[in-house]
Amino acid sequence: MTTTTQRPPAPQSQRRKQIATPMDEMVAKFADVPQGKSFRYCPGCGLGMAQSAIMRAFDRLQLDPAKIATAGGSGCYSPMAHYFKSSHIHGSHGRACAYATGMKLANPELTVLTLQGDGDCLSIGGNHFIHAARRNIDITVICFNNFGFGDTGGQFGPTTPKGSVTETSNAGMPEAAFDACKLAIGAGATFVARSTVAHPAHLTKMVSDAITHTGFSFVEVLQHCHVFWGKRNGMPLPMDMLNFFKKNAVRSTDTPEEDWFDIPTYAVDDKNVKFVLGVLHKEERNEFGSDYAALRTRAMASAQGRPADGH
């Protein structure tokens, strides 16, 4: 077991640097906030915090909203992209990585992200997710992990901690859970990070690093669902779950690497869980889109001079 060291607070001068743009300007630039309508998240949901962190990451990287394109499907998170000024495919459940693959290959200028839930990304969309990782296509997958299916009322999903009570596991979740980050690494993702909504500055950093990375990037965002998972597992208030994340989080930088995946990430038992936050994997590998572009250049050159029908 590793010990967590308390970090000293950053000096005042560095803190100021964090605030790149005043909030109003940032919102005006990136957000498309509905007039007179409330956000479609449950009161106290962590998705708003995640959304804010993603917007800050866009701002930190000085991205042009017109050159950002996102893809998503069904889930609690699905309204999120509607609140951004960037383009978005709100498609079928689980297919975001496949949409994103098409978007990025057809227009490599775009900064492409998928916004997905744990069920969306790892259950129904698991196959698209692992194959996009295998190709190492330059997209960023952001997976909001709330330990189950919230949009349908709190059933268990592929990341629900074993033993936890949900609407479809009243006697305790009988199945084992995926470790999303481990899965991403195994599938070939070249940037894998974990953060939580209880660590907004860290989350912003992870998202911006993921976007900056060339290749398939994956950020798992632990996000509380006190309404369904929390309520049935002893954490009925948003703060209960935020404290749960804060109390059990350790920074990867403060933890020996060999321990990163030995500690259970998802467990209903407060005593035996640790969330290792930070960049858990990073490697440089050829990016699919660039490799394909090189192949195309060669193909176009060899086809030159032939009639349009390629004969």
Binding site: A66, K67, S92, R95, Y99, T101, G102, H128, R296, A299
Partner: protein, 384 residues
């Protein structure tokens, strides 16, 4: 113009390229595999993209993603692959995202007989996806048409902002024929409606006010926010139902408009061919490869003094009821030869209900071509 010997499956590809398609996502499946193979070679040559996805559904999704960026995109499949793609066809209809899907039909339900041909997805083309979604489907009969009708399919899809199915057949895809390919620059191409207002006045991809409106669509990466939403139920005049919420009037408006925008342009998209239907006692209504047999049977019947005619349906969906009614108005009998158990016949019966005209079918589900002799024998039986 170049004269070439092409597989039907190659002709689909060349038609797509001639129409401006520059993105293909595929997954190998018999008997459509040659489309993926050809596209993997041809797409990079013409500056496009070929990507092989993890399954057919992923391929259809990638095609939708590419189309959202403004690139004309195609995928192809068969049998169980088409069953998977149905999900995404529905999504694209709801999101009003143009794309073309080529179905090289095999035979039988389930995995069926992968190496044999059929016409068993006539109804699936129209009713395969969920939620009262309209469909446009075109059925080529020859390799030459595989080229030209793929061009048409891409153009219709762009014009209507809706997916279009090219209803091919294994028999056609794996058949070789000489095709005169035009200079692709001379092929007429249609582009989807795009924003004409200033970016600050842009109200999104779904700004329809009338039932037959086809609203402009912004490319991802352009200065306009390009929301492509398969929630598919939009308030009249534009906006975003996910943000604003939705009332039943919006739902009613959207579902009706998805149909009406196609039906209002019916004359433009209804392709068909008729031969000697004016004085025909018997009319053969056929589509796809089986129409060739009907044409031959008509010739033989006429030689024997039987007044036969042929109505060859090319645009099979939306089903051209008025065309069937007009072509069969003077007939005593109508025969529908098709390689299924009467799917098109059902629609013909529906069109001719109450007219007293006898409608019957010749139905093969063994993948053997319906011969002119069979049609002729049936004709004599029906006219007795």
């Amino acid at each position: 113009m170049t004269r070439r010997l092409l597989f039907g499956n190659e002709a689909f590809c060349e038609g797509a390229i001639a129409a401006g398609v520059r993105f293909y996502a595929g997954y190998p499946i018999t008997p459509a595999t040659e489309i993926a193979e050809t596209m993997s070679r041809r797409m990079p040559e013409v500056g496009g993209v070929y990507v092989q996805m993890e399954d057919e559904l992923g391929a259809a999704c990638a095609v939708m993603g590419a189309s959202a960026t403004g690139v004309k995109s195609v995928c192809a499949s068969s049998g169980p692959g088409m069953a998977l793609i149905q999900n995404e066809i529905g999504q694209a209809i709801a999101a009003e995202c143009p794309m073309v899907i080529i179905n090289v039909q095999r035979a039988g339900p389930g995995i069926g007989n992968a190496t044999r041909s059929g016409q068993m997805e006539f109804m699936q083309a129209r009713y395969g996806t969920n939620g009262e979604a309209p469909m446009v489907a075109i059925a080529p009969a020859t390799v030459d048409e595989a080229f030209w009708l793929t061009v048409k399919a891409v153009n219709f899809s762009e014009m209507l902002r809706t997916p279009v199915i090219v209803l091919g057949e294994g028999l056609l895809g794996l058949q070789r024929a000489v095709v005169d390919l035009p200079d692709y620059d001379t092929v007429s191409k249609v582009d989807r409606p795009r924003p004409t207002v200033a970016p600050e006045d842009w109200r999104g991809n779904y700004t329809a006010n009338e039932l037959d409106d086809i609203p402009p669509m912004a490319d991802f990466g352009s200065p306009y926010k390009g929301l492509v939403s398969t929630v598919g139920l939009f308030p009249r005049g534009g906006g975003d139902s996910t943000v604003q919420g939705l009332d039943q009037n919006d739902q009613d408006f959207t579902v009706r408009r998805l149909h009406q925008k196609i039906l209002a342009r019916r004359e433009e998209i209804t392709l068909f061919e008729q031969h000697h239907t004016d004085d025909a006692d018997v009319v053969y209504v056929a589509f796809g490869t089986q129409a060739l047999s009907a044409l031959r049977a008509m010739g033989e019947a006429r030689a024997q003094g039987i007044r036969a005619g042929v109505l060859r349906l090319i645009t099979v969906w939306p089903f051209p009821e008025d065309v069937v009614q007009a072509a069969c108005a003077n007939a005593r009998a109508v025969i529908v030869p098709e390689m299924n158990l009467g799917q098109c016949q059902l629609m013909v019966r529906h069109a001719l209900a109450g007219t007293g005209i006898r409608v019957s079918g010749i139905n093969h589900v063994d993948s053997n071509f319906i011969t002119p002799a069979e049609i002729l024998a049936k004709t004599k039986e029906e006219l007795q």
